[in-house]
Amino acid sequence: MANLEINFAGIKSPNPFWLASGPPTNSGYQIMKAFDQGWGGAVWKTLGVPVINVSSRYGAINHRGSRVVGFNNIELITDRRLCDNLREMEEVKKYFPNHAVIASLMVQTKQEWHQIVNDVQNAGADGIELNFGCPHGMCERGMGSAVGQEPAILEMITRWVMEVAKIPVIVKLTPNISDITEPAQAARRAGANAISLINTIQSLVGVDIDNFVTYPVVENHSTNGGYCGPAVKPIAMNMVKNCAQHPLVQIPISGIGGIENWHDAVEFILLGASSVQVCTAAMHYGFGIIRDMTSGLEQYMDSHGFATIDQFVGKALPNVKHWEELNLKYSVKASIDEDKCIGCQLCYIACEDGAHQAIDLNEDKTIRTPRINEENCVGCNLCSLICPVENCITMVRKDDGTQHQTWKQRTDANNIPVTFDDDLAGGLGHTIPDPVKAFGKL
């Protein structure tokens, strides 16, 4: 039976699922309720000098019947007094001594940092997360992502914290930067025990096209917010992978960004995260989703023979390579299962208009199952991705697996196209229809 317990840079937790710093961790009440339902840890809504928030605060992207696939907020850090938060933190630790309570912090001066670190340590926090990520509001005041975007300043402030920290320190990174590994390395240099990422992505979630203002609307105006939710997961995973693979980072990573189920969590763990944090999904569905998350993770670990989380942290990392290292001789072609095909012909038009004209319709229009033209099929996956039927279109390997040739090898062997009209062009030999055949074709 899988053991979900983790020891994340010295912070122990009954499972790797933590609530990320945000509205669900605004109070001791919410965190107690979450722990009671099975969450392993919680990163307290960022503490600092309390703010005054605006109304309204959130905006969302809905996509064809799915609500909140992307979420955007302009809420700031806690608007509650530090003394109230600390009192509740002590209370939570009294009831849940074995759960992870991490205090997210954001202040300005060295003196403030020293004081607040000591305060949360005294309140019983198990760890500290430095919020260097918030990309709206707080950054205008020189905090949040303003720090995360300047590795030197991030390093300096982290050093201030490390001077007084007696508990593990996690540096939370902003994705609003061209190379995420730079602030990650700075955190490592400053002696941080771990990093967490990503914070939200600077965003405008939508425009009110009748009143000419972006969302969320505050009277007649708006401002950029921070973007999160399921839509940001791919961006977050790439950044987690970049940090996990970097030789000068090599400290534990808490993965954040669009996680809403066990499958998402497994993906982050396979890319190097050893704990995961969730906020938007808890805001959308409530704390009850944890039951599905822990049950699914257990099931996954049992079916793959992983006894502990550690056994699969980063297990996918060796397989994420540079493009130039991929095998150019590997070849897959689409294959349509005629018994499963429902005849929507979306694969046909997707390939016809959006790819390589490698799917043909039957001349007999009453037969709606399209046919793959293997000569033109480049194995791009598009048809299999848009097909609405599970496992109807599969990509079948066609090469015999004996040959291996990468772009790097071809470059080294001077066997690559180098002129505009080079005969080594990869697309040479594909049948491209005559442009005039496009006229009048649906």
Binding site: I342, G343, Q345, L346
Partner: protein
């Protein structure tokens, strides 16, 4: 035991005659339209007799362009709202939906269509700009779906169009012959008014065109003619006792109950003769009006019924009982029908045979004949050069709707022998183009 009370109270009647395809809410329409796959060369569009670009209008609904969605519908089908309500979508667009192949509920196309068209009608959208009149005029006989559709198409090409209608209302069977839980008279009339406002055709009600003299007057005045006259009264079954006052035709019955107060008591025991959709409608309505015992009696077996399975289901749900392989041989009773004498039948080598000596009487208080409608042969005879097929239908060129008399075009039930409203709409529109082509070539 009857399921319903006779006569129904007003609020009961509201429930029993509540629309079977009620108007969607914005939220329902959003979620339902989200499900559409946007198939290429979509089977739903292929299945639609008017070829509405269904995936397009559903996507327009989903993306918040309700007016655009209605425009897409009306460009293919002038009676988009009526058809959304009365079409047998289960065997047309929705029956063709690819989701059926996965045993997933097909997209609720009819109701989405109504969601868009209803909004356009209520907000009085104008989708069509009628060009200046081209100096030619066309007379349309019959203001049913075929005639209205033909008139709209002709107006869009600049013809002056007068519609002559024998009744005091437009819409033909959509108004008179379709059950009220499918479409109300208000809904049917609203759409015709919506069309008349933007197309500006003239309708002369209570004007039956029948005699040679009528025809001569019209021929002197108009350049071409469209016959959208539908079918006549219910056919006789030619059995003894058929003339009794409580032995009536189904279309006449449906027309009557659509106009009379629901509190009028209905007969306790009703026998409906026939196995088509009209028989189901009539039987279902009797049960909903509180008749205690409603039987649909069909002379062939159940699988041979012309009624769609969902229409029979709808009747059964209302409390109707189906009886099969029973041929009526006499309406019994002194002055009024007191029962129907049936004889059992069987099909031997594809031929329906009566089983001698198997006759028996089922008592009833009302007999409804739903065995088809007669052709309007009296008018046909007065138009020179028309040819009819062996079934008494007007013969036309399928591509243009032109009859054997080149100035006359036709469509709808008079041509197809009795099909759906949507077929009439398609044929009317086609004939509109046919007339335009014909008159343009005359110059």
């Amino acid at each position: 035991m009857a399921e319903h009370r006779n006569p129904p109270k007003l609020q009961d009647a509201d429930n029993r005659f509540a629309p079977i395809k009620p108007l969607m809410s914005n939220t329902m329409a959003y979620y339902e339209s989200s499900r559409c796959l946007f198939c290429y060369d979509a089977p739903c569009t292929i299945a639609c007799p008017t070829s509405i670009d269904i995936p397009l209008f559903i996507r327009q609904i989903n993306n918040g362009n309700l007016t655009g969605a209605a425009k897409t519908i009306y460009q293919s089908n002038f009676l988009g709202n009526t058809c959304g309500k009365v079409c047998p979508t289960e065997v047309l667009c929705e029956g063709a939906c690819v989701f059926n192949k996965m045993n997933i509920k097909p997209i609720d196309i009819g109701r989405l269509q109504n969601f868009a068209t209803n909004s356009a009608i209520l907000t009085r959208q104008k989708f069509f700009v009628v060009p200046e009149e081209n100096g030619k005029s066309v007379a349309v006989i019959g203001a049913g779906p075929a005639g209205i559709s033909c008139a709209c198409q002709l107006r869009a090409s600049g013809y002056m169009v007068d519609i002559y209608e024998a009744r005091n209302n437009p819409s033909g069977l959509a108004l008179h012959g379709i059950a009220p839980y499918k479409i109300t008279n208000e809904e049917a009339l609203m759409e015709v008014e919506f069309l008349r406002e933007q197309f500006g055709f003239n309708v002369f009600y209570n004007t039956r065109i029948d005699s040679k003299e009528d025809i001569a007057v019209l021929e002197a005045k108009y350049d071409a003619f469209f016959l959208g006259i539908g079918l006549g009264s219910s056919t006789e079954i030619k059995i003894r006792g058929e003339g009794k006052p409580n032995c009536i035709g189904a279309t006449e019955f449906i027309e009557e109950i659509k106009t009379r107060p629901v509190s009028t008591p209905i007969a306790k025991r009703v026998i409906v003769l026939g196995g088509g959709n009209t028989a189901m409608d009539a039987a279902s309505e009797c049960a909903r009006l509180g008749a205690e015992n409603v039987i649909v009696a069909y002379r062939r077996s159940q699988p041979e019924m012309k009624a769609y399975y969902f229409e029979y289901d709808l009747a059964k749900v209302a409390g109707v009982r189906g009886m099969f392989n029973l041929a009526p041989i006499e309406i019994v009773g002194e002055n009024s029908a007191e029962g129907v004498k049936f004889i059992r039948t069987e099909t031997v080598n594809g031929i329906l045979k009566e089983i001698p000596g198997s006759d028996f009487v089922i008592a009833c208080d009302l007999v409804i004949k739903a065995t088809g409608q007669a052709k309007q042969t009296s008018l046909f005879a007065n138009i020179s050069g028309l040819t009819l097929d062996e079934a008494g239908r007007i013969s036309v060129n399928g591509a243009t709707g032109q009859t054997a008399n080149p100035g006359y075009f036709a469509g709808g039930d008079a041509v197809n022998g009795g099909a759906e409203v949507v077929n009439a709409v398609a044929e009317g529109k086609l004939a509109g183009d046919g007339i335009h082509e014909y008159l343009s070539a005359l110059i």
